[in-house]
């Protein structure tokens, strides 16, 4: 059963990536193009200021069209397959172990939690950034910090889940859940305070462009997780009905 669920999770993730790619192509790509335009115009200005030789033509390794099409889909499909597979494994472990929830409801609950834990909470500390934001020298520390943030969010959720289980022995379910949610918020808050602050947005980078890009990024990832939750729920229901 775990094998079937794993493959189906990866399949749901790839299908979700296809939908997310369409959304990203429509709402995010125009913002990325604008950011690249900003980047190029500033590179030219910087060159002009230094009275250097004419700006060297940057060799395009991968054309913008490929980046926006096949490249975007490949990246999202790899991501979708990866998180879809992990999602299926967590579903396989949790189903029936955490209350008697139906498979579709449980898949939706897990997908909403994943969206909150992996996209929204880490994004509050380290928001998604378009091209032209971020210095090349700091990519190592920024990547490390971002992964730390995601890890912190997931670890805090696991601790909160344990707190909830412990509280359930002596308290009502609703109180245990609220106290666990409060512990999660507190743990994440402390972690976000301790992690290094990163602000590398150029001074004259358009605020509206930054906002639109972030909204587009969140929208694409929302579609990704919503599709995983809905499609995997249907597939898991089918799998469970067949074995029953």
């Amino acid at each position: 059963m775990a094998k079937t669920l794993l493959w189906r999770g990866m399949l749901a993730g790839i299908l979700a990536a296809l939908l997310a790619t369409m959304v990203a192509r429509t709402v995010a790509e125009p913002q990325i193009d604008l950011a690249i335009g900003y980047e190029e115009s500033h590179a030219v200005h910087a060159m002009g200021a230094h009275h250097d030789a004419p700006a060297p033509v940057e060799e395009e390794l991968v054309s913008r069209d490929t980046q926006k099409g096949a490249g975007l889909f490949t990246a999202l499909a790899l991501y979708g397959a990866a998180v879809g597979g992990m999602f299926a494994l967590i579903f396989a472990y949790g189903y029936g172990r955490f209350g008697r929830m139906g498979p579709r409801s449980f898949a939706l609950l897990l997908a909403s939690m994943a969206f909150l834990l992996i996209v929204i909470v880490p994004g509050l500390k380290y928001p998604q950034t378009p091209p032209a934001v971020g210095r090349h020298e700091t990519v190592g520390i920024r990547t490390g910090a971002y992964f730390m943030m995601i890890g912190l969010s997931i670890a805090s959720a696991l601790i909160a889940a344990n707190i909830r289980t412990a509280l359930l022995r002596s308290r009502r379910g609703i109180d245990a859940t609220l106290l666990a949610a409060g512990s999660y918020a507190l743990l994440v808050g402390i972690g976000q305070f301790l992690l290094p602050a990163i602000n590398e947005v150029p001074e004259d980078f358009p605020a509206v462009l930054l906002w639109n890009f972030r909204i587009a990024s969140i929208a694409s990832q929302f579609v990704l997780w919503a599709t995983i939750g809905i499609v995997f729920g249907l597939l898991a229901e089918h799998t469970l009905k067949q074995q029953a």
Partner: protein, 75 residues
């Protein structure tokens, strides 16, 4: 429970022979699935960015837009 049922008419389907899927059934697939996921995620998020297994920038440029979109630091 009535309102819950109205919203989610999705009842629990018991797993054959127990409450949940046995851990022994999940474990080998969890190892395999996690490994695959880590490799995929590495190429989307980190390769030729913060760390590089291969020379050049081809992977970076190819997944460029997706990397930005998913919030991974790109350059």
């Amino acid at each position: 429970m009535a309102s819950t049922t109205a919203l989610f008419d999705d009842s629990f389907i018991p797993v054959r022979g127990g409450t949940g899927i046995p851990v022994a059934d999940i474990a080998p697939w969890a190892v395999f699935g996690t490994l695959i996921a880590m490799i995929f995620l590495y190429f989307v998020s980190t390769e030729q960015g913060a760390y590089a297994l291969f020379d050049g920038m081809y992977v970076h440029e190819y997944v460029h837009d997706g990397r930005h979109l998913l919030g991974f630091p790109c350059h």
